[in-house]
Point group: C2
Chain length 378, copies 2
């Protein structure tokens, strides 16, 4: 392996001025990032709940450890076995895979990982309970299982009530497994713009969870973890009196889409600040009313819309192609090589195209964090 | 650096059955891929033109060399200096950056690279000519420059005619630089569905290029390269009698969006086959009429729409979230752990989220090619 070179594999080095960071790069405003972590830490302490911070957003062991050490996170969530392996290798000792693991080889890896750290996983299939139990027994480890209920996202998860109960009972009776509770993440509610609509969806989810817990109690099954919630809804689950673990990811960075959801007064949610930006340069000024920047489709994910230029209302990112961003510049103010901060449309998949986070404070590069689990979708 | 492990960093190993490849993975049907490369090789030989294959699609030195050795490609195009560096390091000796390079540090790197390989770059700014010339002189190298004209894509590039002429004259008069011709890529025409509309756009571009060449000839400037064209339009430029180099990328892989564009008879373009697939597994079957697969937003780019399930019309990929794909399965035929091939919506940015291509023939993994320049957008 060739030694990494600034400008080829790595966009910056520690001590460099932000102005000199190679573009496009993914930069973190460390002051805003730290404030976001702290804000969430205060919330959970205040409400007497736990926060299992979701690493699907950042895929970084450095950030996961920061969330645990400075934001009161009790552990980390992730979505894939390879992410869990990477986080444990990076020093995280408590990992929940908020997803089903059904492939025999992945189950095997998960069981091996449970010999190195506390490992939890979600289950929505009775046959999967047997497979997990066999693997845990084979390696003489314990895998903690949460029954996932579909509380409105219409993805994975069984129906609340009886179907969840059946799986819970089977887990509790299986060697090598512990029934640890319920996973109930309403993923489809997170980006709902309207406060009342968003709240109503979570109210429904909370009721389904509460009813399921009641049924579990009747067969003497207690839930150590009643988990779910994301940045768009955490306030509801976190104050529900039912959920005891929230699982926010995007709150550390925020993005353009999360800033379109509104609070009770119709304002945009404001307790978290934008800390994640795509640092981009103007590379063509051949036209009077538009400039071309170097952050296109390969520098971000467009699934939730175009990026927004941070701190500017005189110019607008209006079109994105593979390698170019078209910026409307009616007053013709942008110059060649001028640099801009873009707020990505959607932070999670945008982070997944970068190898490095460039941490910046006061205009100077303070740290470089690898996106440890970048591309790890296995 | 830890040794790569199958299932963590690498989805497969040579000799493995396709069925055992870890999902989601990016697989290449080698028979279809080789046929596509051969088909393009026959076309350019037949028409007496050159093909400078575009590596922005695949970002792989292995594939670039294959295109040169087996498809008659005279050289390779790429979009970024870091891609060019990576391709040259991988053995490619002739690279055109089909883009502007204006950042002083990137110009410096480009000049250094010109000491190792034939290096060409596009220019749309008079000041940039000075900067390139200074860097080339500093390293005692020659950088070949193409004047980029905006022939309809409305991104980079100056207007055809006089503005292009001015830059060409300046390049020709600058130390360390060679004026090598015209870059005229109509990027906005590539995915236009209708044949007549697509053809009309290229006809306009060809006329602008022809007029510019005529003006250049009047000041004794000859174009070694008159280049442009992509998979959606190459037939028009390639038979125009004006362009002498085409620059196709997607033809090696194809994707769902390219299969929506039509030929003269209103049929879908059929000379190239799908050779690139996302290999995915069913990971949840908790609902009767839908299955969840493990290829979500982080396993592809959605900018050109959802992926299409290859070879199946009884099931449909209908929704994509960060980590999940929702597959409509009205007849309830999909089983847990069953595997499917997805045709990505857009091949280029989809390749950019993977570290490896898994080359498959006859159901067996034949090769693993690293996505050499993955994430290299600098």
């Amino acid at each position: 392996m060739t030694k990494p070179v600034v400008g080829l594999n790595i966009p910056a080095e520690v001590g460099m001025a932000l102005a000199d960071v190679s573009t496009p790069a993914l930069i973190i405003d460390l002051d805003a990032f730290e404030k976001n972590v702290k804000t969430m830490g205060i919330f959970i302490k205040d409400k007497g709940i736990r926060h299992r911070a979701h690493a699907k957003t950042h895929k970084s062991a450095d950030i996961a450890l920061y969330q645990m050490e400075n934001g009161g996170a009790c552990g980390i969530c992730c979505q894939k076995v390879s992410e869990a392996e990477t986080l444990v290798a990076g020093g995280v000792g408590d990992v929940l895979v908020t997803n089903q693991v059904v492939d025999p080889k992945k189950i095997d890896r998960l069981a091996r990982l449970a010999g190195k750290a506390r490992v939890l996983v979600c289950v929505d299939d009775l046959g999967n309970v047997d497979d997990l139990s066999n693997a845990a027994t084979r390696y003489a480890v314990n895998i903690e299982c949460l029954v996932e209920i579909d509380c409105g996202a219409s993805r994975c998860g069984v129906q609340w009530g009886q179907p969840a109960l059946e799986i819970a009972i089977k887990i509790a009776a299986s060697d090598g497994l512990t029934f640890s509770g319920i996973q109930a993440y309403q993923g489809a509610a997170q980006h709902v713009r309207d406060f009342t609509d968003r709240k109503a969806r979570i109210t429904t989810a909370v009721q389904q969870v509460a009813d399921t817990i009641k049924m579990l109690k009747q067969v003497n099954l207690e839930c150590d973890i009643i988990g779910g919630a994301g940045t768009g809804s955490y306030y509801f689950e976190g104050t529900s009196g039912v959920y005891n673990e929230i699982q926010c990811g995007s709150y550390i960075f925020m993005d353009a889409d999360y800033q379109r959801i509104k609070d009770e007064e119709g304002s945009f949610i404001s307790e978290f600040e934008n800390s994640l930006f795509i640092w981009t340069s103007i590379m063509s000024r051949a036209k009077r009313d538009q400039a071309i920047c170097d952050a296109g489709l390969k520098a971000q994910s467009l699934d939730s819309g175009l990026p927004v230029i941070f701190g500017r209302d005189d110019i607008e990112y209006i079109k994105c192609s593979d390698e170019h961003g078209v910026i409307s510049d009616p007053a013709n103010v942008l110059e060649l090589n001028e640099k801009l901060k873009l707020i990505p449309g959607h932070c999670d998949p945008t982070c997944n195209v970068y190898d490095w986070y460039v941490g910046v404070r006061g205009g100077v590069v303070e740290c470089l964090w690898p996106v440890t689990a970048r591309g790890m979708a296995y």
